[in-house]
Amino acid sequence: MSNVDPNFEPKIVGFFCNWCSYRAADLAGSARITHAPNVRTIRVMCSGRVDPTFIMKALSLGADGVLIAGCHPGECHYIEQNYKAMRRFHMLRHTLRAMGVEDQRVQLVWASAAEGQQLADAIDKMVAEIKQLGPLGWSQNWEENGQRLKALEDIVHEHQEAMEVPV
């Protein structure tokens, strides 16, 4: 897209798992690794806790993107729930594609508690990609154009004007 707004700061909701990726974010902080400040982090116990409803809800309420971060496959604190997260993510992406949402807007990354730098890089990359895409502004998709209220008024007038057969 050519008309990228340089002032656009994406709002990204992040769901980070308690055991790996939230700690990676913590590590990035204590190691003073700089990264884009656009992710609003929500800590969940496991990436497997992230119901796709949360993501749909975030997008419908104005988020420009959603980042899900969990432990690496095989390293889940709850044995295999991150695989569940992975399968849900593929289902979600398949569905969102069909609804016209670009792949970059919902991403899944794996970050161990030691990977502060990798997580910061993933955040920077995602923010840059969404800046290129521009705002999502989902609720604008629901708006009718200005004709709607006029059309409703017209019905009232029409009914008033309509000829009734005199009794």
Binding site: P52, T95, N141, E144
Partner: protein, 326 residues
């Protein structure tokens, strides 16, 4: 009950719907006589003559119960929803269309322009050399002719006006309709906002045998003849029973056909499709991202039509992204 003859006043209206809901009301059979004893049907364009102006002349709240089926597709639908809301004490979103958009709501995958182009130009059986499209106003020598405005996005009834009760289903099953009508007749209404169905899923009333679910491949219904006693989902057939509200009696799986989800989400579920594909994802038997993607791509070619067949308009995203404002 407000009528002078001691009877209540009942209205039945259709907006963007197919008429199947009215048929389902007739499915209560001889109990229709009991209904007629309790209610005067004051407005029902499907079965009785009546004018909108008659409704406009009524006092506010004069109708005791209005069963409103259909989604809000045009300005006329919206006008009628507002009018009937004002004139009715109890407004029931009747059927899947009014509750969550149903099949007409799948139009939300397209723009008004695309829908018109298809309906009035591109479809195989259409011949329209002058490229005529419906206009909201057409001048003729006698004056102006009007058509309602067709909206870009179909909305559900409760996205338009306040709704008291929901009766889901495509169509609602007659026993549930009778149950709801009896509650009204007997003055035993549940708390406002109640969805009249079961507070459980279709699986609960399905007689098939269930065991551990692990799926390597989703099969389309035409690809296999399913075994009649095992859970359809375990056979790889995408059955929506796991996420769908019960109340229908699991009619479809009992005749070897998968549940397609017409009773919508259970209580406390905000997004039917998300709940459904989340559950389906859990039973895919693979941990390899490439294989998972392949299983999904091959087995579910139309994700929105599969997960949101009845609930797109009522889902959290409500529609697909609009490309350019028209």
């Amino acid at each position: 009950m407000s009528g002078t003859n001691g009877k209540g006043k009942l209205a039945i209206y259709w907006a963007a719907s197919c008429g199947g809901c009215e048929i389902s009301i007739l499915g209560i059979d001889d109990k229709i006589l009991e209904l007629a004893k309790a209610f005067d049907i004051v407005f029902c364009p499907c079965i009785a003559d009546g004018k909108v102006s008659d409704v406009e002349k009524m006092a506010d709240g004069e109708i005791d119960v209005c069963l409103f089926n259909g989604g809000i597709r045009t300005s006329e639908n919206e006008y009628m929803a507002q009018l009937l809301r004002k004139k009715s004490k109890v407004l029931v979103a009747f059927g899947s269309c009014a509750t969550e958009g149903c099949i007409p709501g799948l139009g939300n995958l397209h723009s008004r322009q695309a829908i018109f182009d298809n309906a009035y130009q591109e479809s195989f059986s259409t011949e329209n050399p002058d490229r005529v499209r419906p206009q909201t106003k057409t001048p003729v020598p006698e004056g102006a002719l009007h058509l309602p405005l067709f909206y870009e996005t179909l909305r559900t009834l409760d996205q338009t006006v306040k709704v008291d009760y929901y009766l889901p289903g495509c169509p609602p099953e007659s026993p549930k309709i009778w149950e709801a009508l009896q509650a009204v007749i007997g003055g035993k209404l549940p708390p406002p906002g109640t969805v009249i169905g079961a507070n459980t899923t279709v699986c609960d009333s399905c007689p098939r045998t269930r065991s551990e679910k692990k799926i390597k491949e989703f099969k389309r219904t035409w690809e296999v003849i399913p075994d009649e006693t095992t859970c359809l989902l375990e056979q790889g057939i995408l059955c929506c029973g796991i996420a769908t509200r019960g109340g229908c009696g699991a009619l479809c799986p009992q005749v070897n056909s998968p549940c397609i989800g017409c009773y919508g989400p259970n209580d406390d579920v905000e997004d039917y499709g998300a709940r459904l594909f989340s559950a389906l994802a859990s039973v895919i038997d693979s941990q390899d991202p490439r294989e998972i993607e392949e299983i999904i791509q091959k087995g579910i070619p139309d994700p929105v039509g599969t997960f949101y067949r009845f609930s797109l308009a009522g889902s959290q995203l409500r529609r697909s992204k609009r490309v350019a404002a028209s």
